[in-house]
């Protein structure tokens, strides 16, 4: 038993050293498509541009399949201490800190849970996207916090049917929320 105790102590020592070395800045964790599910809606998270994550102060990371799911979680868990939020750049899928990103709300964008908000690292890219796609609303992180997060189908039900098909090729996510309604 003494040996075991000893090895246990050694292990703790090694781990604490590792922790001390890696204690620089909060890094986003990679997504495992096989096992990661959205912390809000339980759907499997595809490693695509819609995935987001929250890193808590204790180091626990939570993965979301849609920006809306992340905000839904943050609203429900306001008491949790968050050390970082990451979103992805719509074009190159790089992780970006949620505060630095620029957002576009556009109903024609299909996101996994139909919240229809996408994120960009560069403001210019976001502006370009908004210019190319009618009906876009450009938002900063602060403005996003006040966003109402209506899901597309709720809009749909209020407006009745009326849509067309989208050629807006996006990654297969939980599913493509192909959605048009630029006629809004």
């Amino acid at each position: 038993m003494k040996k075991k105790l000893f090895s246990f102590l050694v292990l703790i020592g090694v781990l604490s050293m590792l922790a001390a070395c890696g204690d620089k800045e909060v890094q986003p964790v990679a997504i495992n498509e096989e096992t990661d599910t959205c912390a809000t809606c339980n759907m499997a998270v595809v490693d695509n541009q819609y995935a987001t994550q929250v890193i808590l102060e204790n180091g626990k990371s939570l993965i979301f399949d849609d920006l809306g799911c992340m905000y839904a979680w943050m609203n429900e868990n306001a008491d949790q201490k968050i050390s970082a939020e990451f979103v992805r750049d719509y074009d190159n899928k790089e992780w970006v800190s949620a505060d630095d990103a620029t957002y576009v709300y556009n109903q024609s964008v299909k996101t996994p849970m139909a919240y229809n908000v996408i994120s960009f690292e560069q403001k210019a890219d976001a502006e370009k996207f908004a210019a190319d796609h009618a009906g876009s609303t450009l938002m900063t992180a602060d403005e996003l916090a006040k966003h109402s997060w209506t899901q597309n189908h709720e809009m749909m039900q209020n407006m009745g049917e009326g849509h067309s098909h989208s050629e807006d090729g996006t990654e297969e996510s939980g599913h493509d929320m192909e959605q048009e309604n630029t006629s809004h």
């Binding site: 096992t35 809606c41 339980n42 499997a44 189908h153 849509h163 297969e172 599913h175």
Partner: protein, 423 residues
């Protein structure tokens, strides 16, 4: 003169040949067909992309294979009353939205067909009253088998779907009927999102990551389905219910899943007469309120039920095989309530790593010591004495077992005798 003849011949050939090849394509036949006509396709492989916009019937004679690797669907169906029968499709388009068959319009019929696809199998977009049946769809887990988008009043039955992302996916599609489909080896068997008033009846979804996902749906009927052996993934379950209201989950069989029924943030649903058997966790509720769980049979589940942040659920008259039962009044009900302690779920909700202690003897002890407050436990006040349905057994042949038993006795006895001998 002969030169002129020769040139004429060439001219005739040039004029005729395209016409002839054109006549050979299916598309040209389709174009020439009058509405209501039945085109019988003779056996063979056709490398084409078909577009059908008028009410005609395409019927294969023998093995008819349509093959396409184009971005556009192998078969596009529009308009009304188009029928496809006995046709095989091999589709290797790799675009993210690529699909073997694309359907819009209404009242189409697809029967007795086979699809092999790299992405999607069939996509319905704004289609209604389409009937898809007796078909086979296999894929590479990269697209959905049958994908309904804003398509209502459709019927999908008797389909065999394997290795797709979601076997059958419904979004913003209402009042559809999915019956007797068999889905396996896919991510989700059936996946409903924002889809109301659908009926899922007698389907079989086995060996998927999750049998069926109901997400943000209302008034769905899930009756007589078999969601079993969905357990390989660490997030697997037979039936996942998220943000669902006023739905009825009845007479389903949930066997050998990681979690039989997982319910979250759902209200006013009725779960009755389900057979929840041999799952690692029978039912799990999180933030599920005002639901009714009655007359279900829970047999052989390692952990029968756990619930957190759930209240006002009417849990009664279920059969729990592991609970102590005592019937004093002869009503077929036990006076001893069944209690499901949420301790382990609470523990693992904060630190999922502790899930390694699942059913560890020490945790069972801990759970007994730290009794959770009565308002947090899931309680069945009147559990049933008998199951609500027949529970069948499977057995290995007795002779093999006898051989094992006798073999063990003989081996150990002989060693025993050897051991007892004086050296």
């Amino acid at each position: 003169m002969s030169q002129l003849k020769y040139m004429l011949l060439i001219l005739v050939l040039v004029l005729l040949l395209p016409g002839e090849t054109d006549a050979a394509t299916l598309q040209s036949k389709i174009e020439r067909a009058v509405p209501g006509e039945t085109i019988e396709i003779s056996e063979g492989i056709y490398e084409e992309n078909l577009v059908i916009t008028k009410p005609i019937t395409l019927k294969g004679q023998g093995k008819v294979l349509i093959r396409s690797c184009e971005e556009q669907p192998a078969i596009t169906i529009k308009g009304e009353h188009v029928s496809l029968e006995q046709i095989q499709v091999e589709y290797c388009g790799e675009g993210k939205e690529a699909t073997a068959i694309s359907i819009s319009g209404s009242k189409h019929q697809l029967t007795d067909f086979e699809i092999e696809t790299k992405r999607y199998g069939i996509r319905l977009d704004g289609a209604s009253e389409v009937n898809i049946q007796d078909g086979l769809i296999t894929g590479q887990r990269k697209g959905n088998g049958i994908d309904l988008w804003e398509s209502s009043h459709n019927t999908i039955q008797n389909m065999k779907i394997t290795r797709m992302q979601d076997g059958i996916y419904l979004e913003q599609s209402h009042q559809n009927t999915l019956r007797q489909n068999h889905i396996q080896g896919s991510r989700y068997g059936m996946h409903l999102m924002f889809a109301d008033d659908n009926v899922l009846e007698k389907n079989i979804a086995q060996y998927n990551m999750t049998g069926t996902m109901l997400m943000r749906v209302n008034r769905v009927q899930v009756v007589g389905n078999d969601f079993s052996y969905n357990r390989d993934n660490v997030n697997a379950q037979g039936l996942l219910i998220y943000f669902v209201e006023n739905s009825r989950i009845a007479e389903n069989s949930l066997t050998g899943n990681r979690v039989g029924i997982y319910m979250e943030t759902s209200e006013d649903n009725l779960m009755t007469n389900n057979k929840v058997m041999d799952n690692f966790i029978g039912v799990q509720f999180t933030k599920a309120n005002n639901n009714q769980l009655t007359r279900n049979t829970f047999v052989g589940n390692v952990n029968e039920a756990q619930a957190i942040e759930s209240s006002n659920n009417e849990v009664s008259h279920n059969y729990w095989d592991a609970s102590a039962k005592l019937d004093l009044k002869g009503k077929g009900e036990s006076i001893l309530p069944f209690v499901a302690d949420p301790y382990f779920l609470t523990l693992t909700a904060d630190v999922p790593e502790f899930q390694l202690f699942f059913q560890s003897p020490g945790v069972l002890l801990l759970q007994k010591m730290l009794k959770s407050p009565a308002d947090q436990v899931l309680t069945d006040e009147a559990p049933l004495m008998e199951t609500t349905m027949e529970v069948e057994r499977t057995e290995t042949s007795a002779s093999a077992l006898w051989a094992m038993s006798v073999g063990m006795i003989i081996v150990s006895t002989s060693l025993f005798i050897v051991g007892r001998k004086r050296v």
